[in-house]
Symmetry: C2
Subunit: 183 residues, 2 copies
Amino acid sequence: MIFVALIHYPVLNRHGDVINSAVTNLDMHDISRAARTYGVKRYYVVTPLPDQQQLAADLAGHWLHGTGGEKNPDRKNALGIMKITDSLESAVADIAGITGQKPEIYATSAMERVKSVSWEEMREKIKQDDRPFLLIFGTASGLADEIIEKTDGIISPIKGPTEYNHLSVRSAASITLDRLLGR
Amino acid sequence: MIFVALIHYPVLNRHGDVINSAVTNLDMHDISRAARTYGVKRYYVVTPLPDQQQLAADLAGHWLHGTGGEKNPDRKNALGIMKITDSLESAVADIAGITGQKPEIYATSAMERVKSVSWEEMREKIKQDDRPFLLIFGTASGLADEIIEKTDGIISPIKGPTEYNHLSVRSAASITLDRLLGR
């Protein structure tokens, strides 16, 4: 069973400082729709700031309870798997509540790390293991070390045939789900 | 050599009517960044409306000539491959000017079509053929038949393990480039 989390804190800005990034409507929609396509059980939007949690809830509410969802039931369906949480730990606790087990946590990163897991290994692991998996993605310039340290591993960077590696988090999440769960 | 075009006209709305959709900043950024990652030569934003062409040029200008690009050279680099054109025909003419050949045109579609090309076939075709290829993506609810008829083929829909198939065009373009050009 696969879960996804989009982390807004702790992440890095362009200078390497740890920051709290802002939630965005497009991240919520695009990643919900990709998560729903690939059979992800729940998509966590992680921010400790109450006003940002409220903003995310308001943006989703338009589609879940308002006129947006009536006009566009596919969006309502997708955003229905989204849940706003204050921390990675809360997401892990929620997953344990659903599945009875703590998930294995894997991050993606644009940087090659010492102990990267290959895409083939990761796809095989998900297929064979019956534990839940939580895939985490960083906003802004990526996940801070303090959250990377809480993972069980880092998946190899997504690479194309060039040296340019500045995909949006929406693109990275979509490609990751397709590589791991696509037909 | 691979080219990408994002079509704003003629596309369909939710009721199947042919419309002209609005350009968006996020489509320009996300698809430019993915195109740049996967070695796409040029990314065309196709709209016949002069005010929409101007809007797209203004949005890109902030990153190409303004302070955005100074602060974030990676965005400048990505948007540098974007070109605004009024029609598919203009994009084809531009490609012929660059490569000396008209491109083969392939579309992606969320619907299964009669003569879909498989992902394996398409990947192989790109690898072996030295003609240019133009991959076209539809905004709103997808490409109208009158533009589908101008293609050389349709690539099979992107599928996950569920029946839900409402990816954003940003996700669909990213996954398509990864499937066809990823390592």
